[in-house]
């Protein structure tokens, strides 16, 4: 720790030669500062942004993913995709996914966070348990559910005599979403609890003194206080719902008969099964478009938060 406090630097304007020296010194510092910020930015630009821009270009070509044999084919990829009924299913499934994730985990997260707010002693214990599925790998979580829960031979569903929901067209999407939500809701508990703890105590006490019921305190004090967190997590949920991939790919591969196909698995199949990188890029762009809408919203919200 630095303990010596040197005298304040002499005002630069009163001593011109020193000021000049200080200026070059400052410029050197600025250069050093740009050098410090450069590795993070360059890595992100090279690995994320440039390939991202290439995707925008390749979406208008018939590129196979290897070699330089590329033809510009205009909006053919987009026309093909929009005419494909599997794409319509995928888009509808992404929207169902979004509705599920904006309701079930949010309600559970809010409920558990509110219950933990006043219970300081058991808070850590429950937070750790609730987060356990969240810190495990999607591969592990998906295979646990597939092997010991959904499995008709020896799994919990087999014991109950229920057909595996991943293998039926009516339930396959929900079977994958259930595992993803099981792994996800604890994260919302932690985020909401962190936000709820920022609520000014005097506001809560004033409401209780006024005789407000528990529900009214929640509705009129806590909920407005965590509004920005709810909104931000909501926007994040919108973005990630359109990008859903892991749990669908691992549990159903989009099947049976494309019933659980989402845009993520649909694009992946184009790229790595039929080697139509142009089409995969086009689907990637459509997915990102929904994310971009939410992302613009997110940027404006978080900038407003920064100013506040």
């Amino acid at each position: 720790m630095v303990t010596t406090l040197a005298p304040a630097p002499v005002s630069a304007s009163t001593r011109p030669p020193a000021a000049r020296r200080r200026n070059t010194h400052l410029r050197k510092r600025t250069l050093v500062n740009y050098a410090l910020v450069a590795p993070a930015l360059l890595l992100s630009i090279i690995i994320v942004v440039i390939p991202g821009i290439l995707t925008l270009l390749f979406a208008f070509t018939d590129w196979s993913g290897v070699g330089f044999n590329v033809d510009f084919i205009g909006i053919q990829n987009f026309q093909d995709i929009l005419a494909d009924p599997v794409f319509a299913t995928s888009l509808a499934n992404n929207i169902k996914w979004l509705v599920l994730f904006l309701t079930i985990p949010v309600v559970i997260g809010l409920l558990t966070a509110m219950l933990l707010l006043r219970r300081k002693r058991i808070r850590t214990f429950y937070q750790v348990i609730y987060l356990m599925p969240y810190v495990l790998a999607p591969v592990v979580n998906a295979l646990i559910w597939q092997t010991v829960i959904y499995n008709p031979n020896g799994g919990v569903f087999g014991l109950l005599g229920i057909q595996p929901p991943t293998a039926m067209t009516a339930t396959s999407l929900y079977a994958a979403a259930a595992v993803d939500m099981w792994h996800y809701w604890g994260f919302l508990t932690i985020v909401y609890l962190g936000a709820l703890r920022q609520t000014p105590v005097d506001q809560v006490e004033a409401a209780i003194v006024d005789g407000a019921s528990g529900w009214k305190v929640f509705r009129h004090v806590y909920l407005p206080s965590i509004r920005s967190t709810l909104l931000l997590m909501g926007v994040m949920t919108v973005i990630f719902s359109f990008l859903a991939f892991d749990y669908v790919f691992l549990l159903t591969q989009g099947g049976p008969a494309h019933s659980s196909e989402v845009m993520g698995t649909y694009a992946y199949a184009f790229a790595f099964s039929s080697f139509e990188f142009g089409k995969a890029a086009a689907v990637g762009i459509i997915m990102s478009f929904f994310g971009l809408l939410a992302s613009i919203l997110y940027t404006s919200i978080s900038r407003r938060e920064l100013v506040r």
Binding site: S44, P51, V135
Partner: protein
Amino acid sequence: MTRALKGLGAQLILAVFAAIALIPLVLVLINSFKDNADVLSNPFSLPTSLSFDNFVTAWTYGQFGQGFVNSILLTGTTVIVVLICASLAGYVLAGQKVKSWPAIMVYLTMAMTVPIQLFIFPLYSAVAALNLTDNVIVVGVILAAINMPFATFLMRTFFLNVPAEIEEAALVDGVNTVQLVRTVMLPMVRPGLITVGVIVGLNAWNEFLISSTFLQNPSDQTLTLGFLTMNGTFSTDIGTMMAGALILIVPILAVFIALQRFVVDGMASGAVKG
């Protein structure tokens, strides 16, 4: 009376959700010790004897020895690259030391929301053309780039909490920027480094889409990918699959419980991807 009832109800609700989170993991634990006949009769029954055969089979066929090495190399690469780059950038952004800092903040916010599916296809082709697929270090660097924006934001907030006087005093003492960051600033944000390291480390260790696409060769597969290849051969052997799952779960939960304060704090700041 109603207060006591309400309290009891609340405890019950919390316990039910704890059970929902834990039951699948408990099933892994009890079934990993059972042979297949025992599992098939009832997955909820407790094992009658303590047999480690399933673990030996899982370890061998899941190539977990190789998998641990690869996962540690990959995660280590990601964490080191992220900690170095994100803390340097976070320091500059927190101090508003470059004129274009608002533009950089906007860029990072946008970059944080760029989906993997928007850049994975050309990135894969480029990496394949350079003969760099099946390389855990390359995948580690790619995951570092993906985690960079959020890690930079988190490091920035930790640097914002360092009192300006400390930095000014050091500057007056005549240290240069590199010395300042290394010997004064970084020790001040050690909790931040741990938080970012743990969260980014978990992200890298658990990642699926990029790893499975870029690491196809069995000898280069991470722990989770090795476990996934087991699924084809052992999908009917529940005991072995659960033993494999337990081998993957225990180290992660041990690290998580040991460092839970940092994980929870980092997540509560609300800047983490799901």
